[in-house]
């Protein structure tokens, strides 16, 4: 009747890879709802060090992320956003490992009964 569970999970997993590794390239680069509101009243100025806010807005209080210099910061690899897909695949794999590991450890052992 329905798809075998193993095949379903495999297809689901491949789908996750395609989204993280490929579709993510088509993401809109405009600030999201929260960012856009907190940046109201400011103008984003490009400097040699990156973007800077001028004016008066909520986002002015924002400080740099502790890990902003990290190898995967901002979904890039070493700051190169041509590797967004790789960063996405790594992130999805780490999430699967962390969540899957936690849930597998927590599960009720149904087989032993």
């Amino acid at each position: 009747m329905s798809v075998p569970r193993r095949r379903f999970l495999l297809v689901f997993g491949l789908f996750v890879l395609v989204i993280a590794g490929g579709v993510a390239y088509f993401a809109d680069s405009a600030p999201d709802g929260l960012d856009s509101v907190t940046q109201r009243g400011c103008t984003v100025v490009q400097t040699a060090q990156g973007e800077r806010l001028e004016g008066h807005c909520i986002a002015q209080n924002v400080t740099k992320h502790v890990f902003s210099g990290g190898p995967l910061a901002d979904y890039t690899v070493g700051g190169d956003d041509r590797w967004t897909g790789l960063a996405g695949v790594i992130g999805a794999a780490v999430t699967l490992g962390a969540a899957g590991g936690l849930f597998w450890g927590l599960r009720r052992r149904t087989g032993g009964e």
Binding site: A20, S29, G33, Q49, G50, H65, S68, D81
Partner: protein
Amino acid sequence: MRSCSGQEGERDVPTTTLAMHMSDGLLSAPTALLFAVVAIAGLAVALANARADLDDRTAPMAGLVAAFVFAVQMINFPVLPGVSGHLLGGALAAILAGPWVGALCVAIVLVVQALLFADGGLTMLGANITNMALIGTAIGYLVALALRRYASRSRAGLLVTAFVAAWVNTVAASCGFVLEYAIGGAAGYGTGTAALAVVGVHCLIGIGEGVITAVTVGAVAAARPDLIHLLRTGKQAKEAVR
């Protein structure tokens, strides 16, 4: 303007290509701490209750749901000129994996994003988890639960339920931000205007969230309806009584 790091450097805003969630500094330190405590308490409750929904069959599915939420959160879609939105995923995860597991899925995604991708401030992690993993998931699931009769009756009912639950999830999560900002927003001005703007734009983002959630839940329902927690719980409850 000054090029040296230090005081001026701290004001540099991280380049926002795919960034989302609250960044460090948006809330005062005591408020951040308060919501860190709320987040830990909420996740402890979720952890204690999640076990009941996890077995050999559902645990791998739940892990994939978390990875799926991570992947889809990367895709910002345009909602207004110059403004984008992205999936939060709480209602989606809760419908597929149950509310407790769903909350843990979203929380894990947020932790991975903050630690690995510098997305969402570390001091704001509690506030972000409270909004997206706790408030959004809980409210979204309650809506789905209220509509479950329709969801289990027809495919259209399931899609509409998923859409509505996800829309409410998004708006509820944005209300969480408003609450936090009202309690201890670091800027301390324009709370009312900011609140209206944030909730307003999330009413639009919620439409995208609703569509993605309905399509996903619909696809899983077509292949393996038994892996959808929302459609299973009624029967499970009956089994538990026996």
